[in-house]
Amino acid sequence: MQKRLKRIGGFFSSMRFGIALLVVLAAACALGSFLPQGYALDWYLNRYPARTAALIYGLGLDDVFHSLWFLVLAVVLCCNLLLCNLLHLPGVIRRWKNAGDPAAVPECPEVSLDGVPSPKEVFTRMHLPAPREAERDGRKMLFSAKSRIGVWGAWVCHLGIFLLIVGFILGQATKTEYTVYGVPGQTKQIEGTDLSVTIDAFDIDHTENGSVQQYTTRLTMHRGAEAQSGTARVNAPASLFGYRVYQNSTGSAAKLTVTMDGNVQQEEVVCVGESVSVLQTPLVLTLEAYEEEYYDAGNGQKLPGFAYSTSYMGQVDRAGVQVAGDTALRYGSVEISFSEPQNYTLLQIKRDRYTPLVLLGGLVTLLGLLLAFYLQPSRVWALETEGGGWTVCGAGPRGNAFFADLLREAAGKTPENREKQEESR
């Protein structure tokens, strides 16, 4: 049983399994980017043959990145990384210790150069720290090593990716997200919370050329008697009550006025796309769009126009455009009109406690990559020979053909140098 568990553990922590997971994840990501995501079954049935659509829907390919199997892949990758790091930790510590230990130099080094008269210069030319004196088999030895920390590169990188994925999964599972929109002066309750938001001001800054430079919402968030104020701009969210408030987008809004026999019965701001019940009856009015320069064929002028539609008991009733100063609809003595066009602000309110973990994971991954790629450990040692000369040896990054060249050059043992030496002799 123990053997079997060990074998299973070995398989799950293996690089072979890790590579297979990376390949499957890459394929899943590619698939998710090609297949249109997030539509209803009918949409896929219209677009693909019935069997393909059923397959897409059945396998969760309509929402790859939020499907259970994709989550399982990510969790399994996490396990692979964690097990891999745990099992390799003793080996990494050993290699790290050995990299700076003169007694641990290999018997058969990658490079061995005989007859070097002055080994200290070799260490200097190789940009190594001043060598330590040691002894090996009764012979004097000079040893120096650099970039030992590079041994940790892959390990740190794996740890970073592990933290990143764990943070991402936890964040997705626990984050809370709300959307609030409105015009200055309005207070909106955030559904499902004890919070409400008052929009104090909303400004749109323009450049000299007239294009939008920045959207700014000043807001106050309330929790019971407590209140916190802040400013949300694009690229600069506000932080209130542990929530981040993002300036998401904007749109048009207008004041809706409903009068009966000339008396105002209902007055409120309606945003484009928003529907309101008229005088609490089954008649529902929707502000469909606002056009600043709507061409009114009646008087041949360009005037602000409000496009609207109404429905009664769920059935579409009327649709049309009301130009500024006119009345949109009349139902007997009831008159409905839009006026005072303005901009509303749309805010996204979010809390994801695990974002810092994801950021930490990203930074640790970068550190790991830097260590692995640019701080590869190398060791150089020189052994005194009986004749008084030195044999210089070195062990560089695995498979690094340039390390041997560098060491030969530092020791003056390049083929060209050798030819010159022989000629001078």
């Binding site: 990376l22 990501c29 600069a236 979010k350 974002t355 990203g362 970068l366 990559l369």
Partner: protein, 271 residues
């Protein structure tokens, strides 16, 4: 300033073409002096290219990295820069003969894009723009070089007996190692790109990762190169297999850049 940029951009293309011809003459006539001149001409092209980008930046009043034209010309600049660094660092002029045609293809793609200067939308008015896009340029440039090295490696297999090739192209081990180093550089900078992009997206859109096609394909590219690095360790995938993988990896890079914009529009449609 923008007119000057247009002139400098055209001059850059012409100088790169001249450098390419000189590199080809170097191969045809096997004269090392021609390689030295070609490197010098490419370096001059890079200087003019840099000046063109600076003029564009001054003319537009922002970093020239926000639309298809600007990113393509910056990508070509990154490729030219990384290739020159590798040529000089590894004393490998033959690399220029293969890298400069790719640079010309990319700058040619830039020439086909609209050069109109548009005002930036508010979300792009961020100091993260410079960090995020410039790291992407270096990453793409480095992956471009690994692709070129992969091609050279595969050609070297066929030219094994040519004395000229043996003299001017590093040994297979070294060629493989240079390619590996360019992949390492690319992967490091791609990781920087993704992380800085995530931080920026969190500030601008409230979500550090949205599975937007550009993000997704950056991840696919990252995964492909991660597989490449693991296969090198696990199975000793070096030489020919690694060269083929480097070519495949760059196809992913190109798809992330051009393919995603063409076939899979998303929130990165401007880049």
């Amino acid at each position: 300033m923008l007119q000057m940029e247009s002139g400098l951009f055209t001059a850059t293309i012409m100088i790169y073409v001249a450098a390419m011809i000189l590199f080809f003459l170097f191969i045809a006539f096997k004269r090392e002096g021609l390689a030295r001149v070609a490197i010098f001409v490419q370096a001059a092209g890079l200087v003019i290219h840099t000046a063109a980008l600076i003029c564009r930046g001054i003319g537009a009043g922002r970093l020239p990295m926000t639309n298809q034209y600007e990113f393509a010309t910056s990508f070509a600049w990154g490729l030219s820069l990384v290739s020159l660094i590798f040529i000089l660092r590894f004393k490998f002029p033959m690399l220029g003969a293969f890298a400069i045609p790719v640079t010309i293809l990319i700058i040619g793609y830039a020439a086909m894009q609209s050069k109109e200067v548009r005002e930036l939308m508010p979300s792009l008015r961020s100091s993260w723009l410079g960090v995020h896009v410039s790291t992407a340029i270096i990453a793409y440039g480095a992956f471009g070089i690994s692709f070129v090295l992969g091609i050279i490696f595969l050609l070297r297999e066929k030219m094994r007996d040519s004395e000229f090739w043996n003299r001017h192209v590093p040994s297979r081990d070294k060629l493989d190692l240079i390619s590996y180093r360019s992949v390492c550089l690319g992967l490091l900078f791609l990781s920087f790109t993704m992380i800085t992009g995530a931080i920026w997206a969190e500030q601008a859109w409230g979500s550090y990762w949205s599975w937007d096609p550009k993000e997704t394909w950056s991840l696919v590219t990252w995964l492909v190169y991660a597989v490449y690095l693991h296969l090198r360790i696990r199975r000793g995938w070096r030489g020919k297999a690694a060269a083929i993988f480097a070519v495949i990896g760059f196809i992913c890079v190109l798809f992330t850049y051009v393919g995603v914009n063409t076939f899979l529009p998303g929130i990165h449609s401007y880049a």
